[in-house]
Amino acid sequence: MSQYRIPGKGRVDHAETVRFAFDGREFTGLRGDTVASALLAHGVHLMGRSFKYHRPRGPVTADSAEPNALIGTSRGAGRFEPNTRATVQELRAGLMCESQNRLGSLSFDIGAVNDALHPLLPAGFYYKTFMWPRSFWDKLYEPVIRRAAGLGRAPSEVDPDRYASRYLHTDLLVVGAGPSGLMAALEAARAGARVTLVDENPEMGGSLLSDPGIEIGGQPAWDWLDGVLVELESLGVRLMNRTTAIGYYHQNMIGLCEKLTDHLDEIPQNAPRERMWRVRAARVVLAQGALEKPLVFHGNDRPGVMLAGAAQTYLHRYGVKVGDRAVIVTSHDSAWYAAFDLAEAGTKIVAIVDTRDAPREDLRAEARVRGIEVLSGHTVTGTRGRLRISSVTVNPVEAGRVGDPRMIHCDCLLMSGGWTPSLHLFSHTKGSLQWDEDSRTFLPGRMTEDCHIAGAGRGLWGYAEALVDGAKAGAEAATALGRAAGAKTLAVAHDRPGTGESHKELPTDRKSSRVRAFIDFQNDVTAKDIRLAVREGMRSIEHVKRYTTNGMATDQGKMSNMNGLMIASDAVGKPPPQVGLTTFRPPYTPTSFGAFAGYHRGATFEVTRRTPIDAWAEANGAVFEPVSLWRRAWYFPQGGEDMEAAVARECRATRASVGIFDASTLGKIEVAGPDAVEFMNRIYTNPWTKLAPGRCRYGVLLGEDGYIRDDGVIGRLGPDLFHVTTTTGGAPRVLNMMEDYLQTEWPDLDVWLTSTTEQWATVALNGPKAREVLAGLVEGCDISAEAFPHMSVAECRVAGFPARLFRLSFTGELGFEINVPARHGLALWEALMQAGEPHGITAYGTETMHVLRAEKGFIIVGQDTDGTVTPEDAGLGWAIGKAKPDFVGKRSLARPDLVAPGRKQLVGLLTEDGAVKLEEGAQIVLDPDQPKPMKMIGHVTSSYHSATLGRSIAMALIEGGRDREGETVHVPMPEGVVRAKITSTAFYDPDGDRLKL
C-alpha cells in the first residue's frame, strides 16, 4: 500500500492494482485511479514544468481544468499523445507516461534558467525586442524562440486507432451529471421525454462523488446516487459517461466527444478510440457546476499547492491524502469542509487561513472541535520549497495593513478563492452573461437557444438548492416539450452550503516588483503582467489576454480568466463587466483531431467515384488521375513504358487504327418535355430549334456574367427530348444551375431535368477502323457514313444491350460514343475489345484524349479557359445564336470590357524548335529583354508532344491573339527564352476530312 493511500476509502478498487510508468519509473495504482491520484498516492506532486519559466508544478485540480500536470501518454507504436491531463487520464495496465517541457530531468530542468531571468521577460517583452540587428530575427531570434515554444512533443507516427461518429436526436440533453443534472434528467424522464445525460467523468455523480457525507431523502449520498442511476436507466435515459460536451452550435446542436478505449487495458478489435456525437436536442439543460478559483499570492504555484476542492476529491474518490501537514487558505466556506474531511482522514490541518475577518461561527466551532488553528483576517504572502512546498508565510491583515509574517511548515497548501459558474457552453451560444455584484461572478443572462441552466451554473450553492433547481429545470424542459411535469423537493441532511468573498491578489507585505503571484499557471502569467498590460494601454480584457497570454493555455482560462479579469478591472479602475468578458470558444476541453475527422480517413476520407469500367482499367495496369471526385484512367503503360511513351503509342494507335476510351464520367442530363427546345435555347448560347431529332450539336454554356462555364455535345433524341452531356467536373454544377433557372425564373416551362450520368456507361471508340469494329455489334441502326453522318445520334442495341449511340469525335477521327445501361458497361467494353482485336484496338486514357483533342484545337473548359473567357475569346463565337433574343450570359457579353479590343484570345502556338515542348502555364511576352516586371501578353493553356505531328504543339490565350497569327512571340523560361509562332489552333486535319470517313 502506498504511503498516502487510505485503505478502503474512495471509489477505487483496492483489490486491483494497476502498473504504469512515469518517466521510466514503475508505479502501481488502483483500478479507478487517474495518473495524478496514483502518483499523489506515492507522495509525488511534481508532475510538470510551466511553459515560460519552466517552474516545477504539481496538479492544482482533480479534473479537466488542470493547467499544470500535463504529461505525454503512450500505449505503443503510433499511440502517443502529448499534453494529457494527469488528472483526467485513467490508469490502465502498462500506461507509459512522460513529463514534458524540460531540458534534462523533471527535477533538474536547465530551462529553469528562464525563471532566474524573469525580470527581463515581462508580458509582451518580445514585441519590444529582437528587432536589431535586423538580420538576426530570421537566423537567431526566431529559431531560438521557436525551439523554446510548445509543451509536449508532437506525435511522430501514424495513429493506428479508429475514430467514430454518430448523430443523435433527443428531446432533452442534460450536460453534467452532478446533483442538478441528475435531477433534471430524472424529472424529464419521469414525464416521458427522451433524455440523454452526459458527463465527462468516468462516473456519474459530479460533486456528490467528493461529498459522501451528504444525505439525500434519508439516504447516504452514494446510495441515493446508485438509486437514481438505476431509475434513469429503467426510464430509458441514455447515460453517457466519459463524454464531454465540447461545443454548443446552432439550434441546439451539441457536439459530444466520448472516450471509449483510453482507460482500457486492452482495445477490443475494431473498437474506436473516441466517438464524436452530433446531438440535436429539442431542449438542453446545462448543469456543468462551477469551477473553484485559485487564490493569487506570491508562490501560489509550487507543487503541493492545490485547490481545496481537489484535495477533497482525491480523498473521497481515490482514497488519497494529498499530504500529511496541510494549511488551508481560503476566502470561501467550502474549503473549511475540505479541511474537516482531510482532518478526519488523518491529515494534520495545521491552520485554516481565512482572508475574511469573521468566518461563520459554526465552521469555527467545528474547527475548534478538531483542534485546528483558525487564522481569520489573514493573508498568505509567500511559500517555500524547491520541488514541493515546505512552508507558507501568513500575515494578519488589519484595516488593509499587512502585519508581521509567521512561517508555518506544511507539505501541502489547499486554497480556495470561491467558485465561478461554468458557463462555457452557454457562452458558445452567444448568450449574454450578467455580472452579479453580490457574488462577484458572471451569471447567465439572455438566452439565444432553447436551454436551461441549473444549479451551481446559476450561482446556487449547497446540495439542497442544486437538487431543487435541477428538478425545476427538468420539469420546465418537459413542459416545454409538451409533457406534464411537476418539480419536487428532496430533504438534504448534512448539506454544505456556503458563501465567500472574491479577491484580486491577496494583500501582501512584499515589494510589488518582487511578488510573483501566478494567475495563468501554465503560461506563467502573473498579476504583475496583467497590471503591466493595463499600464501599457491594454484596457479591454481581450487586449490584456492577447498581450499577456492569460487564459490562452490549454485550460483556456478555466483557472485564470476570472482572477485575470478581477486584477485588470482593478487596474483599469472600472467594474469587471466594463472591462469585458473573454469569449469562451469550443471545444470545452481539448479534443483529438481524430475525433473530428471520424470515419474520414484513408479510403473513406472522401468518396472516390469509379466508373463501371474502372475494374478493367485497374486490371490492365492503368495509372489513374483524380478528376473532381472521380478517378480516371490516365494512361495504360505497357512493359515498363513511361507516361510519354505510353501516350505516344496510344495516340498513334488511335490515329492509325482504333482506340477505345472510357468516357463514363461525362455528366449526362435528360432534358424532356414540350418546352425542352425552348429551355435549351435559353440556357445554351447555341440555337436548338432547327436541330433535327437524330442529330447532335456542340453546346456552350455561359454564366450570367458571360464567361464560359461548361460545354458538351447534346443529342436531340426526339422533338421533346435532349440528351445533354457536360464536363466531368461540371455535371452537378450545371444541373443545379439549370434547375435554378427552371424553378425560379421560368416555372412556366413544361420541361424536366433528370441526371442520367450514372445510368449510362459511355465508351468512346475513335479511329479510322472504329466503324469496322462497331458495325458487327450494332443492331437496329445503319451506321454507314451516309445513313449515320458525323453528329448523329440514335437509339439502338450494341453488343446486345440497349444503347444510345452517338457519332461524334473529340479526337478528329471517325468516332462513336456508345452509352449502355451502367451494369453492362464492362461487358460492352470487353465486347468492343474483342471485336477490335484484329485491328489492334488500343485502350487510351485521359492524357491521350487531351493530346488528340489538342491536335484538333478542341478546348477543355477549365484548362484552355478559366472563369474570364468568353466564347469569342475561345474562338467559339460561331456557337452563339446571334438571332436569339436572349440566353444566359448574353447581356454580359455586351459589357464594356467584354467588347473592348485586346482581349486574350485562344490561338495555337508552335515552338520554332519542334523538339521543345512549352510548359503549361508558361507566360508569353513580346520583348524577352525587358526588365522585370515584364509585360505578359498571355499564357500557354495546353501543351503536348504530338506523336502524330512529330513535334510539340500548344494552345495559348494571347492578347489580340487572332490578329497576331504568324507573329513570333517569346516564352522566357529559367533555362532560356523559347521562341514560338502564333498559329491557328487546328494543327491536324484542319479541314476535318478524317471525320467524313
Binding site: R75, G76, R79, A93, G94, R162, A164, S165, R166, Y167, L168, H169, L260, T261, D265, E266, I267, P268, Q269, N270, A271, P272, R278, R280, Y599, A603, T604, E606, V607, T608, R609, R610, T611, P612, W630, E670, A672, G673, P674, D720, D750, V751, W752, T754, S755, T756, T757, E758, Q759, W760, P821, A822, R823
Partner: protein, 183 residues
C-alpha cells in the same frame, strides 16, 4: 509492450446485430409531372401517386414514392418496364411529363437487424424515429445523396448512385464492425 488486438472478430458476430445486403436490380424511373396532372398520369401507370413527400403507393408490384412536389420514383419488376414506358408514352400527349429510366443509376442495399437504425446514425443526420415504416425520403448519408426507405422497424433500404455506393458500403461495414465490437 501491450498487445492491443485480442478479440477475434467473426462474420457471425458482425451480422448478428445488423446485416448489409446488396439487392438485385429492379426497374426504376424518375417521373416528373405537374402536380395538377399527377392523378391522371398515375391512373395511366396504374398507380395512385401520393401527393405527400415521403409517402409511398403500391399497386400490382409497382411502387411510387413521392420525392418532391412534382417528382416520383417509380419502381417495378424488370418485366414491367416496357409496359410502363408504353403507358407513359401513350399518355404523353394529353399529360406531358418526363419519365426517365434510372434503373442502373443506383445500387440498393438492405440494412436489417436489431441495430439497423443505430448503424444508419453513423452518417445519416435525420431523426430516424420520425421516419415511419412504409415511408422513404431522399437525404444524405455522409456526404452522399441517398434514398432511404424504411420497410419496418428494423428494416431499411438505401438507394445510392452507383459510383458512390462503394463509399457508403465501406462506411456501413466499418459501422457494422464497430457495433460488433460493442463499444
Amino acid at each position: 509492450m501491450m498487445t492491443n488486438q485480442t478479440h477475434d472478430f467473426t462474420l457471425a458476430e458482425a451480422t448478428a446485430r445488423v446485416r448489409i445486403d446488396e439487392l438485385a436490380p429492379v426497374s426504376r424511373f424518375s417521373l416528373r409531372v405537374r402536380p395538377a396532372q399527377a392523378a391522371t398520369l398515375g391512373r395511366a401507370l396504374g398507380l395512385d401517386l401520393p401527393d405527400r413527400i415521403g409517402r409511398i403507393a403500391e399497386a400490382q408490384g409497382r411502387t411510387a414514392l413521392c420525392l418532391g412536389p412534382d417528382e416520383w420514383l417509380i419502381c417495378a419488376p424488370e418485366a414491367a418496364r416496357d409496359a410502363i414506358v408504353a403507358a407513359a408514352r401513350k399518355a404523353y400527349e394529353a399529360t406531358p411529363h418526363s419519365l426517365t429510366e434510372i434503373s442502373d443509376r443506383e445500387i440498393s442495399y438492405r440494412i436489417s437487424g436489431p441495430a439497423a437504425q443505430e448503424l444508419l446514425t453513423i452518417a445519416c443526420p435525420r431523426d430516424l424515429d420520425l421516419l415511419a415504416p412504409g415511408c422513404a425520403v431522399r437525404t444524405v448519408f455522409d456526404t452522399v445523396q441517398v434514398v432511404l426507405w424504411r420497410d419496418g422497424p428494423q428494416d431499411f433500404r438505401l438507394d445510392v448512385w452507383r459510383s458512390f455506393a462503394p463509399h457508403v458500403r465501406a462506411l456501413l461495414e466499418i459501422g457494422q464492425a464497430e457495433l460488433a465490437a460493442g463499444l
